[in-house]
């Protein structure tokens, strides 16, 4: 039988990237997001060790919720910190991307990536959970404490917006050419 840590490590290797992508909505940098993920994994470990939970890896919706909760807490302390340090200028790392195209030199995918990053937090979290997290609308609604209908309509609205953005960028490029 596989050891518990091996099972968890396999689970993390499989799900780490999608959970990290979700955490990116809350962390300013990839490192922040990785800290959020690590914190969630640690919390989940302790949660799963309770007598009737078997100790194995948790269900994904629960991890998404935990990351979101950690993200909210981080966001609150960030806001407080920002107020204290208003004079600091934050440098943006433009190479710090959330998604990579599956195929190299897929220009359309690169445009879409930018459009996804530009989505509002509310819309993006639904798209991330549905598309890369593989969650159903019922699971998303549980994670975000919203109705399944709201989850579905946010998803549809996000896709509409992405579609419009893509169309606009394509037209701009055509005009430039």
């Amino acid at each position: 039988m596989q050891s518990l840590s091996k099972v968890w490590k396999q689970w993390l290797a499989e799900n780490g990237p999608r959970l990290l992508l979700f955490a990116r909505s809350w962390g300013k940098t990839k490192e922040d997001a990785e800290d959020l993920l690590q914190d969630a994994v640690l919390k989940m470990w302790h949660y799963q060790q309770a007598e009737n939970r078997g100790g194995g890896p948790p269900d994904l919706p629960l991890v998404f919720s935990t990351i979101r909760f950690g993200g909210l807490m981080l966001h609150r302390s960030e806001k407080r910190r920002k107020k204290r340090e208003e004079s600091i200028v934050y440098l943006h790392d433009f190479k710090d991307v959330w998604l990579d195209p599956v195929m190299e030199e897929d220009e359309e995918a690169v445009i879409l990536r930018e459009a996804v990053q530009k989505l509002s937090d509310k819309l993006r979290e639904v798209v991330v959970m549905k598309t890369w997290g593989g969650l159903t609308f019922a699971q998303i609604s549980e994670t975000l404490a919203i109705s399944p209908n709201t989850a579905a309509s946010r998803y549809r609205y996000a896709l509409e917006q992405l579609s419009k953005d893509m169309q606009q960028v394509k037209e701009e490029r055509r005009a430039e050419a």
Partner: protein
């Protein structure tokens, strides 16, 4: 409700041409280490290698403590990380890929629990001792040296002949 609008199918396909960026090697390693530590099943820690010679070492520590007890009669609680340390012999019942490097028993602290009359009617002083056993083991396959720390509490009954 679960089935997305067919009008968006193209967009969904396009989204799947993107994949989440991998967790950095550093973070992955950090989390793997945490999981191993939490599971307590690192290669060395899983083996049960209780030592038959444990009590030989224990007797050595007890002897050292005997002297210590005479010295500390007045304070009720010892300072943390007090002081007696005694090397303990080790057994060879480890799996072949693991090499025993060293082992020590350290007295982390002790406290006087007061006088007590045992079943034979003799007066004894109860002394609670907090010990920490540290073993260093090298995994020959990976070259990793692991330090095992095993805290425990022991109760010593020291015969009292003078009051």
């Amino acid at each position: 409700m679960q089935k997305p609008d067919p009008a968006f199918e193209e967009m969904e396909k396009a989204l799947l041409r993107l994949m989440p960026v991998a967790v950095s090697e550093d973070a992955q390693q950090r989390m793997d280490t945490i999981l191993e530590e939490l599971a307590g099943d690192s290669k060395v820690a899983r083996f049960d290698f209780r030592k038959p010679a444990r009590w030989v070492g224990g007797a050595g520590v007890a002897a050292a403590l005997g002297f210590g007890v005479f010295l500390f009669l007045s304070p009720r609680e010892s300072p943390a990380k007090a002081a007696v340390s005694a090397p303990v012999s080790h057994s060879n019942d480890l799996p072949p890929e693991l090499v025993f490097l060293s082992e020590t028993d350290r007295v982390e602290g002790f406290s006087d629990e007061g006088l007590y009359v045992d079943s034979g009617g003799s007066a004894v002083r109860k002394v609670r001792v907090r010990m920490v056993e540290e073993s260093q083991i090298r995994d020959e396959e990976t070259g990793i040296v692991v330090m095992l720390t095993e805290p425990r509490e022991e109760m010593y009954m020291m015969p009292v002949s003078t009051f």
